[in-house]
């Protein structure tokens, strides 16, 4: 009898090694919470991690370079010029007799260049001599602010509309989705220019809020689809039986499961938002002077295209690099949230494994 009786610990141990259908596939995620799994998958995506570091660097750099306002908090920039300063316009020392050329140099001396250094006006000067570096920094600040505000409002509206439509279905769904369709049919540029013409002079922030009110449509459709499938899952029934209210079911049970879709599409929405802002500002419907934004800079200096192309390069570089790194981050997040994504085994890993196997044998 003594032998047959297993101690409780032993019995429990047996339970934990109970082999399941995906026992091997689950080895990778053993003992980790969902967020840990997602984080691990994300950090395996090299392009996404590099983009994340790059974007963080740009944001910190841009917001510390010149004076910035975060609501009531004002910070001082470390760069010697501000967009309002009017230094002397440089003549003579530029190629092709242009004025205010950039002084930044990245070619080292031993390769025949001027050596690595920023110089007086790294990005050059504009027509009246303002420091273009500080203008680009200010413009990037504005564009990033506008981007996040659009993203924030679009995320909230899109999630709520999609969640309500997907959860309640029926007539509520029909009304909300037809409304969404209606918003979608209006081209973004037209919406933007109308809003820009009407509210552009109220400042970039107000403009961003209004643009956010029109940017949520794609997200709401995705969230609705996700809710439609999730609400049929049995844990929703289980919660209802447990006595959970509708609000609790939506926010506590379904929404956390849809958060993957939301995060991924909001990220991609952000890169769309920065492009929308620059496009509108370029057309003259977005941010209006004396404020600056990346699109506005390109607009203001488009006449200089042939003679002083650097007035294009620098804002362009920031637009492209921000949009690109956000897209990569979104890509990495999508992979991380999608459990069906299996990483491919590289040749090197296979060789390593073989070496390990040989050593063991």
């Amino acid at each position: 009898m003594k032998i047959r009786r297993k101690s409780k610990e032993q019995a429990l141990e047996e339970l934990t090694i109970e082999s399941g259908e995906n026992a091997i596939a689950n080895k990778e995620v053993e003992g980790l919470t969902q967020w840990q799994i997602i984080r691990r998958r994300f950090f395996k995506h090299k392009a996404a991690v590099a983009s994340l570091i790059f974007l963080t660097f740009i944001i910190v750099f841009v917001f510390s370079a010149v004076d910035a306002n975060f609501g009531p908090i004002k910070t001082k920039g470390w760069w010697k010029w501000s967009p309002d300063d009017l230094p002397d316009l440089r003549f003579g020392d530029c190629p092709n007799d242009t004025i205010g050329c950039p002084t930044i140099s990245i070619v080292p001396k031993f390769l025949g260049g001027a050596g690595i250094g920023l110089g007086e006006h790294p990005f050059g000067q504009d027509d009246i001599g303002r420091d273009y570096f500080s203008l680009v920094m200010k413009g990037t600040q504005r564009s990033i602010q506008v981007m996040f505000i659009i993203g924030f409002f679009a995320a909230i509206i899109g999630t709520v509309v999609g969640a309500v439509a997907g959860y309640y279905r029926g007539i509520v769904d029909n009304v909300l989705m037809r409304f969404t369709d209606f918003i979608i049919t209006i081209p973004a540029v037209i919406v933007g220019s109308v809003i820009g013409a009407k509210f552009g002079n109220l400042g970039a922030i107000i403009l961003a809020v209004y643009l956010g009110l029109f940017a949520w449509t794609g997200l709401s459709r995705l969230v609705r689809g996700e809710f439609l499938t999730l609400r049929e899952r049995e844990f929703v029934d289980a919660a209802r039986v447990a006595g959970a209210s509708t609000r609790r079911i939506i926010f506590k049970h379904i929404l956390p499961n849809a958060v993957g879709v939301i995060i991924v599409s909001v990220t991609l929405l952000l890169s769309g938002a920065i492009l929308l802002e620059t496009a509108l500002s370029y057309l003259g419907f977005g941010v209006v002077p004396p404020d600056v934004s990346l699109g506005l800079l390109i607009n203001q200096y488009q006449d200089a295209f042939t003679t002083r192309p650097f007035l294009f390069w620098y804002p362009g570089f920031f637009i492209v690099s921000i949009a690109l790194s956000i897209n990569f981050i979104g890509d990495g997040l999508r992979d991380a949230f999608d459990p069906r994504q299996k990483r491919k085994i590289t040749k090197k890993e296979k060789q390593n494994a073989r070496a390990i196997a040989r050593n063991q044998a």
């Binding site: 082999s19 995620v29 844990f235 085994i345």
Partner: protein
């Protein structure tokens, strides 16, 4: 004896996960002769499907195969992918578990059969069509000419499986690999499909590699059996030897875990039926309302059933018979159209949202699919504690204590409170499901096919646990299942449903021994028995009945 068509020597499959190789099948050795059936048996995760898919390199890209697989003396391990493609479908054909996902929903079944034919043979479209119709006739799908142009969703589950068999047989393959071919089907249809596979095998003299966890199916089909556990071959022998003289203790254990009809331990069946019934259903009709172009559908009609305190009632029926609908209505998840439904004396059909809230405190439900019944983003402790929390019975540390007690009650470690559902196996998740259902010590527990997703050995333990808990807590239970053998172990009374109607209802022994309704009789006769001799007898009886 003829030359074996399939020779497997020291065949291993490993999976690359997170920097290490994990073995899924280790040193498999077996041979298969034409006209014979080899069954690979084992629990989920034992590596049986991996072995079957590995034969033709159908595994995920992180798999590695080693050893030797000879099909018609051609090695399938170190082989060009073009040769492999020629062998797939032509020499080796697969039948998968779920015909709805294995058939492409946007093409007609005829198109899919023709595609297989024309991939392997130099055949004109007309010729291929007539051959396809011939195949459809062979697998006994009614009106083959019309069925040729039908899409998978227009066929019933059994017919879909037949269509898949027709596709598999298109090129007269020497080897047919059937991976759980009947698991998704009802017992009566399962018997028909097995009959079909057997007669086709005899006619075409092909070999069948049968992958299954169902001992009844194995007893019905197999000549030889290979038992697998954790990637290793545990035992390999003839069907007769494995069933009657198993050598390995694991095989014995596996056989003992299979529930057998009529052999359950005779529990005390006395239940006082003089008290007020916990669940009282009178002429309940449940209709799924019209949605878009889909017309309203009456899922359950004039259904009456009483469940008394401390009683387990088994509700049996095939898929689509409306048994889950009854379960959901009994707990107020679905509205009833007419009739009355009372839980502990309160009419649920007329209850307001608030009253429903209090009525639900007396009920609990265990769902079918352990993977979908727990919120993947919540630790299981929170899932279990939710009913208590929402009923405002406990909070904070007191709640945690209660949750841990519940976990202990279902024989899970107390520390599991903070684990997430994906860290648990299917059986453990189902225990969590019970713990949640019992959180408010309900008077009525609804168990909706709680064991259909579990392995037999896990199922046996789960049923033991449920019986122990019921003995202790004395709740009434509506146990919904398609498996008569399982219901036989648990239930005091059995109710049988067909097409939304209650066909028969009575004491357990009366139903199992002397069922009056022909449908019940058919259902009992179709339950596979894990005994080859018994299966043969029944098969012959069935065939005689057909003629």
């Amino acid at each position: 004896m003829s030359e074996p068509i399939l020779k497997v020597k020291d065949f291993s499959v490993d999976f690359w996960v997170d920097g290490l190789w994990y073995p899924a099948a280790i040193k498999m050795n077996f041979e298969l002769h034409p006209g014979k059936v080899l069954a690979i048996v084992g629990e989920s995760g034992s590596g049986k499907s991996t072995t079957a898919l590995g034969l033709m390199d159908l595994l995920a890209s992180n798999a590695r195969r080693s050893g030797q697989v000879l099909i018609k003396d051609v090695d399938m391990i170190n082989v060009k992918s073009s040769t492999l493609r020629k062998f797939r479908g032509k020499e080796v054909a697969y039948i998968f578990q779920e015909p709805m996902t294995a058939l492409n929903p946007v093409y007609t079944i005829g198109f899919q059969i023709v595609e297989t034919l024309r991939n392997h043979f130099d055949m004109g479209p007309k010729q291929a069509r007539s051959r396809a119709i011939e195949l459809i006739t062979m697998v006994e799908i009614p009106s083959p000419e019309q069925s040729f142009d039908k899409y998978p969703h227009q066929l019933s589950g059994g017919q879909r499986q037949r269509a898949m068999i027709a596709q598999a047989l298109a090129c007269d393959p020497g080897l047919l690999v059937a991976d759980e071919p009947t698991t998704a089907l009802d017992v009566t249809i399962q018997a028909e499909i097995l009959d079909l596979m057997r007669s086709l095998k005899d006619r075409l003299n092909s070999a069948i590699l049968l992958i299954t966890h169902d001992m009844g199916v194995v007893a019905d089909m197999a000549d030889e059996i290979l038992v697998m556990k954790d990637g290793l071959t545990v035992e390999h022998g003839s069907s007769d030897q494995i069933f009657n003289r198993p050598k390995h203790p694991y095989t014995t254990e596996l056989l003992a875990a299979v529930p057998k009809l009529g052999s359950s331990r005779k529990r005390v069946l006395k239940v006082a039926r003089d008290a007020e019934p916990v669940l009282k259903m009178r002429d309940v009709t449940i209709v799924y309302p019209k949605r878009g172009r889909i017309p309203a559908f009456t899922a359950v009609k004039d259904f009456s059933l009483d469940i008394f305190p401390g009683e387990i009632v088994g509700l049996v029926g095939e898929s689509g018979s409306g048994k889950t609908t009854v379960g959901k209505a009994a707990i107020g998840l679905l509205p009833i159209k007419s009739g009355s439904l009372e839980i502990v004396g309160k009419d649920i059909s007329k209850a307001s949202q608030k009253e429903l809230f209090t009525i639900r405190r007396h009920t609990g439900i265990v769902f079918q699919d352990p993977a979908s019944s727990l919120n993947p983003r919540l630790p299981i402790g929170e899932s279990i504690g939710e009913p208590i929390f929402l009923a405002k019975l406990a909070q904070g540390d007191e709640l945690n204590k209660k949750v841990e007690d519940l976990l202990e009650q279902v024989e899970l470690p107390r520390s599991y409170r903070n684990r997430f559902p994906h860290e648990l196996s299917g059986g453990q998740r189902q225990r969590v499901g019970i713990a949640r259902a019992l959180a408010l010590t309900p008077d009525l527990l609804i168990a909706d096919e709680p064991t259909s997703a579990l392995d037999v050995s896990v199922q046996a333990r789960f049923l033991d646990l449920l019986l122990d808990l019921q003995d202790k807590l004395k709740f009434a239970c509506l146990f919904i299942s398609h498996d008569l053998a399982v219901v036989d172990i648990l239930a005091h009374r059995i109710a049988v449903m067909q097409n939304g109607l209650l066909v028969e209802e009575g004491e357990r022994d009366q139903i199992l021994n002397s069922a009056k309704d022909p449908y019940t009789q058919r259902l009992i006769a179709a339950v596979p028995v894990p005994d080859p001799a018994e299966q043969r007898k029944r098969r012959e009886a069935r065939l005689a009945g057909k003629r």
